[in-house]
Symmetry: D2
Subunit: 400 residues, 4 copies
């Protein structure tokens, strides 16, 4: 990477961080993950909860010149304008955040601040009218708060797979097509709006988002960054440490059967076969890439309403060892979908803001550690992704 704006001698001459806030715009702000990101950011800032699960608040990345927790302004889109306090109460009811944390004054203040910046988003596909509206709402948020940088994060429900075959690969041609009546999935409309304004865009879902050549080119043209896709919070996280083990030891994986049971809004959306296909595609990427071959691989997703936010991943792996005998590994992982996702969102916001501040542009493959289907790289092994992240962020002046 030839040049980082103002980064010739390391982090020290970056603009002083405390003089301006970072803007954060959450698409799906009133959902579980959005609300937990909002409330959790405030709770960490106020010292109400320890930074468990955050990789940027302690450990090696704490040494990076990341934006402080004090310096952020939140806004976002959702379908309708739900009360964020009600969303936060739902987090308590589900056992995700303690009641005392949500009731604390700093968290309530943060929810109020964000409530004032909540706008009605795009449902399903969108066209030129939606693009213009979203873009102007993002610009207004940026201008109203004089934000030098805004990170837009997609946390909305998974969309069905998009038909992208005929879409133009040049940014201006894509914009022209939309103006002429083409429609895109909402996630791509948001990405288009954000990147066209030079804002950062992060796709935390398996939806299309910025995963189009024209959008990557647009990001580079506008000096924007983007990253994705689909936060790596559970079963795939495990796959990206276990598959390397089988690969290193050259044990031959014959079958890998995965099931996911969940009962939250994400689970309800994924009960739809088309949306589930998006998710399954995202979840299926890592295994073959790491092993170098494709075993029998099943990824099931089931909606069990009474599970609520507490998802359950079950995996059964059959592999052959020396001499051919079959061996097995079985796993059960149970966690709050939201509590696993929200800290990754917080980390991504901070790391994307840093990249933007350092003058990076285009896709950010060094953030692969956060994603099931990382843009810009084929590296799925967690440890290698982590090493790449540390090296990129902590090496003065460069990411080699």
């Amino acid at each position: 990477m030839p040049a980082r704006i103002g980064a010739s001698s390391g982090a020290c001459i970056l603009p002083a961080l405390t003089t301006y806030p970072t803007g954060v715009w959450l698409i799906g702000a009133a959902g579980h993950v959005g609300t937990c990101t909002l409330a959790g950011w405030a709770a960490v800032r106020a010292g109400l909860i320890p930074p468990t699960g955050l990789v940027t608040a302690a450990g090696p990345l704490a040494a990076a010149p990341l934006c402080g927790f004090d310096a952020a302004v939140f806004g976002g889109h959702d379908l309708g304008v739900p009360a964020l306090t009600a969303s936060a109460d739902a987090l308590v009811a589900e056992g995700i955040l303690p009641a005392a944390v949500v009731a604390a004054a700093p968290v309530q203040a943060a929810l109020r601040q964000a409530q004032a910046e909540l706008r009605v988003g795009v449902d399903g596909d969108g066209g030129w009218d939606e693009l213009v509206r979203i873009r102007s709402e993002l610009a207004a948020f940026r201008d109203r708060h004089q934000l030098p940088r805004v990170v837009v994060v997609n946390l909305a429900s998974t969309e069905p797979p998009a038909a992208v075959a005929g879409l133009p690969v040049e940014p201006e041609a894509l914009l022209a097509a939309v103006r002429a009546g083409a429609r895109l999935p909402a996630s791509a409309i948001y990405a288009l709006a954000a990147l066209d304004l030079g804002l950062a865009y992060v796709n935390f879902t398996p939806s299309l988002g910025s995963d189009l050549p024209a959008l990557d080119a647009l990001a580079r043209a506008r000096g924007a960054v983007h990253a994705g896709a689909d936060g790596k919070t559970g079963q795939t996280l495990l796959k990206t440490v276990l598959a390397p083990m089988f690969a290193i030891r050259r044990l031959a994986v014959k079958s890998w059967v995965s099931h996911n049971l969940l009962g939250n809004a994400d689970g309800r959306a994924l009960d739809d076969p088309e949306r589930r296909a998006s998710k399954q595609r995202s979840k299926g990427a890592a295994l073959g890439a790491i092993l170098g071959y494709e075993p029998e691989h099943k990824v099931g997703i089931e909606y069990v309403p009474s599970y609520g936010d507490w998802k359950l991943a079950w995996d059964r792996i059959v592999f052959a060892g020396f001499g051919g005998a079959e061996m097995t590994l079985e796993l059960t992982w149970r966690g709050s979908d939201t509590a696993l996702a929200a800290p990754l969102c917080i980390d991504l916001i901070r790391l994307v803001e840093l990249a933007q501040r350092r003058g990076e542009v285009g896709v950010l493959p060094h953030l692969a550690v956060f994603f099931k289907k990382p843009l810009g790289t084929d590296e799925h092994r967690l440890e290698r992704q982590w090493q790449a992240l540390l090296e990129h962020v902590l090496t003065p002046g460069g990411d080699a």
Copy 2:
């Protein structure tokens, strides 16, 4: 490392490999792992089984100038002189190796060859008489076959923890003490004999072996190499990929309960509380080292005779996520203890022979990926150990 004998310009001027064989001396040769190593080596050489589970026969390390499978002579110690063909039949009965493989002529020939070199070993502690006898048997094996290098591998049953507090730290002082009547665990007697002769010593068990300052100094004095301890074949293997995941993501592990159920000779030995303590110490090392803190950690080992060689590891991990909610991971791993261990032995023999041929001396920390309690390094993370191994073996002229 300043000098490798004859290695100034890389691997190309190493002595031609085909002109002489490598000696392999297995302590516990007639046990399951010993016999499977013998039979498996022959079976791979003859193409009777694929090299599944071997890291040196395919993948990146296949490019290293390792000794060929054609060039090895086997011998070993055991308690008594059991028939290796009977041991091999037991492998078939347990479902470890296919009947046709063990019955094949190349495997039977290999068993006959090793049978001729089987000697009665040391049971329990040993002193000067045992040392002298073992040393002379090893020297005779080396001389009889004109072996430039011999790798001695300890596969014998786990010993109780040894009292090593007062032992001399200088090699000659240790030898003098033994001559004067001091007794050492058998595993250390073998190590002392091997290293004193300049032979390589590998400790695949949790027993004491070469893990004494005096023995490491002796190895360096005699130009010998040594490595250990305790082959990483199952539960600990999993820990060294899963614990890094928790560490990377800064999820807070609260408890990690591990149980091992096994029914083979190793299991029977570990049914003794003292021997079990050795194993538990070995198995307990990795977790705290990787996490950076000590969660509640239980490691149980139970002897279930009807399980035979098919061990079962069960783990339950409770961890806190963002906001403090408790989450869980449960694992069940089932595999043949022997089929998991034997390929590691084969790989170690080849890699240790290479190190010796390259003129390395002393402990070999680059082999940490094979061990539960690696000598010479505190690195327990599998992926990092693997990277270190590749870098060490494949970098021309150096291991940086």
Copy 3:
């Protein structure tokens, strides 16, 4: 039950068993379960294997006046006329029966005997022509061997759910409809043929079989017996002991998620959504019936070819306890589908023959313990079904 032929003073005046053989006709004879039933019957008779898994060869039912293992003649239908020796070799390759058992002379002789009586069956639906042919083949088998009683057992692949809404409920009307062109699933054609001849019919699959009012009436009219449906071999077996536990203790089951992974021909058939629907219906019956309410209940079936005959059932149950706290039970069951099913077939043959000999007619609800979806009763609790079986079979002169 008013009358048992010749049974007024108990079992002692039943016709002497050794004077004639029992006929057994297996539909799907060359499949895994069919072949294992044939070979297993011969192996038990010859003392080559212990009667593990058989409920009629030891324990309380061994006291019942059941037909001996010596007195049976086997025949059957399949699609084409596969070699039963090849089918038996497949059982060995899958680890279901030991090689020495299948190779033994008594087993080979039994396979030869049955091979001579193997006929080409009905594929898919059948009409009048198929009915006439099947009926005449069954009659010929009976007459050729002078069999006083023949038990026909359906072991063929699961059929899609049948449209039975408009079918006549009177036997003669059903026969007339078929003569006039109506078509029935193959399983019902076999049942119609068997019952019309007065033979016993057992449906070991979830297919329609004899589960039609007209067929039950036909059985009663012809003095025949029938039983079914769908052998209870794994996950449902567990449900019928675990659900009663929750019911007895009045623990409130909130969700019960079940997955079945299997790789044999049954699994391949069930990979078809329509056939799977049949199976799922059958597997879903017990839970609500036992609990008295319907929790969230998912039953997934997946085809994993490399699993072969070794099916895996995984269940996760969430239930509320006193005070409302959620608790969980998770289960993994792994077994050979065939080795679990075949002994039940053998037991059913013997018990159905006894019922027929005792003069019982119509459906046999006392055999519910063998079935997922028992005909003639709503009792699903295993222990109660077992008690009912013992009482019915062992009580002299009556089944109360």
Copy 4:
């Protein structure tokens, strides 16, 4: 059973229930189970929680003439006189009872009532002085509240196995021995005191309690009833439905490995090898009794403090099927130890009171369904125990 006092024509002429209260005396009243029994009784009475997990409040036993929830007076012993409100708060903190339930006025009132009746109990062994004191405290409780019947329930920590070999088998001889200086475990002192007064005694723990010939004889002499031992709340509950399944199907259990992980006070007590031996003996009884043979059977208990009250039972069963192939069943059960135990205590109090009121004397084997090691019967099968309970309680005038 020849006679029930006043029960000649069924339940209808039993004394009217509402005219006097039932006394309940809990040994270990301030422990988790004791407090949950107190608070839970009040919460059910007030309709604050549904009767989930109670077998006497709904279902067939609801028809029995049991004492009402309105009519009970509680008291008890503990070590020291802890505040029951603090104990109840601990139940909330552990997620056993909802905060709103414990805070509700009826529950607080019940805690206050019981607090006034809390006395300092016996720690370790006791002799004549302790016996006299306990007996007088029980008598005073009875007299103070004019209680026609008092049920004493032992909920105290598990004691080490007691040496009972030389104890007299006649009640008066036992009393004389204690008077002369013999000492008994506390649980037996309580039983002796209660039964000597003609009160009912229930042993919910594996401690000795009333399991002495002299105590049973004393109960019969004094017209008292007693029952035990060790509440069947988790792993053993599962064993008593799963082992019958293996027995019915004649599947051959080869090994059954059980582990229990728990972190509450019971777990801490069981971390002591002697007390653990008591528990293991109790937990080991059912399996062989049901199967009719003894497989390899391991029962491990481990103290994992961070688990708190949420115990985890893991079982792995290996069994042989038809043809000898090995199959497996694995189970994980997770629940609140307290929430599983407390409703059983409530049920036992009501059922024991009824037995006493009906004039039954001596041991009460019809209560076996509640216990790991039932006194007075060898029946361990849950369904049979349940049938026996229903028959005994619901059959007018008799328990046949």
